[in-house]
Homo-oligomer: 311 residues x 2
């Protein structure tokens, strides 16, 4: 059995995962973001112990522990370099958990763990060059090349949302300008959707309850304003994917995240059409763009299997 941990800005998910990538038991706790890294690490340790007890397992039944973080990790030194959502910077994590349990502990970025899971057990099985993209507030991206997670030289690979798609574009949280995330992040789509006249009446919700998926559903009903919003979103996302495909010659892109549940005719179908039309010919004919098969569990499953990536 393997133990996976997926640390997010709101919740920490933990799971016992068998060698076939199946989650056999799971647990979820709040992320103690305001209490600092020590408190979070301590709560992870305690939750692991509880999960083992609840699962009727001993620590000796577990091969190793893998933890995914929403940020840049340094696998080699067992550190989280920078994870803005949980306010971590240069936090040593592997040695502390390893010391406690006496087991191998591996860490990695959550997006890369998700791509790794898709490669091992999901949509990417059987492919040698894949990317996993998570559509949400930000744009997560992990890549797996020839059986290894691709981290790059500075562990910053896959900053997909921070490719520049507008030369003199709007400011991004990263400090840059014109980044893809500014145009194809969830908040960008929601912001433009909320400007549709009578949006509350059209959706039947208060303005602060309206979600990105509501804008997609409104577009599905043929609302021209909503259609303009989703079409713009798909176009920018398409550009980001074309660039990724043209630079890295990927065989398969697996898409997950809340927004991936939008109606196919408004998201996947036009996205695939855009890529066929705009990507480099020899790649555009062959590349597969599909929905993730592991969904929200991908980061958890992938984290538990980080020990299998030889990089």
């Amino acid at each position: 059995m393997n133990l996976g941990v997926d640390v997010g800005g709101t919740f920490v998910k933990l799971g016992i995962i068998d060698d076939d990538g199946k989650v056999v038991n799971r647990q979820k706790i709040s992320t103690l973001t305001s209490e600092g890294s020590d408190a979070i690490i301590q709560s992870i340790i305690e939750s692991i112990e509880l999960l083992l007890i609840n699962s009727g397992l001993n620590i000796s039944d577990i091969k190793g522990i893998g933890i995914g973080f929403p940020g840049t990790t340094d696998q080699g030194n067992g550190m989280v370099v920078c994870a803005p959502n949980i306010f971590w910077e240069n936090v040593e994590v592997v040695s502390r958990i390893k010391t406690h349990f006496g087991l191998p502990v591996h860490i990695g970025q959550d997006s890369r763990a998700a791509a790794w899971a898709e490669y091992l057990f999901g949509a990417g099985k059987g492919f040698d060059y894949i990317a996993g993209i998570t559509l949400g507030t930000g744009l997560g991206c992990g890549m797996v090349f020839k059986g290894s997670i691709y981290n790059g030289g500075f562990n910053t690979a896959g900053e997909f949302g921070h490719q520049i798609v507008e030369v003199d574009g709007n400011r991004c949280n990263c400090g840059g300008k014109g980044c893809l995330e500014v145009y194809a992040g969830g908040p960008a789509l929601l912001k433009s959707g909320l400007q549709i006249p009578d949006i509350e009446v059209l959706v039947g919700k208060l303005i602060n309850e309206i979600t990105v998926l509501d804008i997609f559903l409104l577009a599905k009903q043929g609302n021209p304003g909503a259609l303009a919003c989703t079409e713009k979103y798909v176009k920018y996302l398409g550009i980001g994917l074309v660039n990724l495909i043209n630079l890295n010659s990927l065989e398969l892109i697996s898409i997950s995240g809340g927004i991936s549940n939008a109606p196919d005719e408004l998201l996947f179908n036009p996205l695939v059409k855009f890529i066929k039309e705009r990507a480099y010919p020899l790649a555009s004919e062959k590349v597969k763009v599909v929905k993730s098969t592991l969904g929200d569990d991908a980061p958890l499953i992938g984290a538990s299997m980080l020990y299998l990536s030889n990089k």
Copy 2:
């Protein structure tokens, strides 16, 4: 000794290269583009024989032959899939040259061979994640990750010039729209430069003799029109490099090609400044962007060493 061949649209360069990457003898013939692939392959075979004689070498002194092509190659099947400059499509080349000489023959894309040479003997020595960019009519790009040339799933990796940088941009030769090459290819810079009023008088050349470097030299003299052209060029090239760095977390980018000889204060200095300002923080601080040390010989040297890349 190793034998390298660099097939270009105008010339085929051949060289005897020692194990330290030094070109010990060389030869150059015209590319018989209009006579078809058979004629070109035959002329390569004859030129190799002549080069060996001129170098006082026997075929038994050569470990292997490596050939770089300006297009997409399929290393595994020994074929050139598509090389528009020489009008080749699906040409089997390895088996024919191998049969003739009885030696191992390796092929690859010229840009990747160039990056490989920089990795082995040039600017990229000692780095694990590099790209070699060639600035010319098009924008060549080869990447080397962890001691292997990166070809990707469809052998189309590094189509750097065909990333989309303008959402609804101008048509590109590749069939796409808004590609980087449309804005940061040599012809784009030249075209805008030739529109500077009195350009012939300013440069002191007839319009059809003016080159991209002339526009850079005019900008160096402070001509505002020329400065606007080179600044626009650098900005688009900078966007392309930022995207490559953000997606692939490269440690070093080596830049070659005719335009890389432009004055540093107008090309390298503003390019490095742009990358420091716009690339993802953790990478922008550390990435090195330098001039190629092997220059025009890089594709030839890299071709001769293709057998060392295990992919």
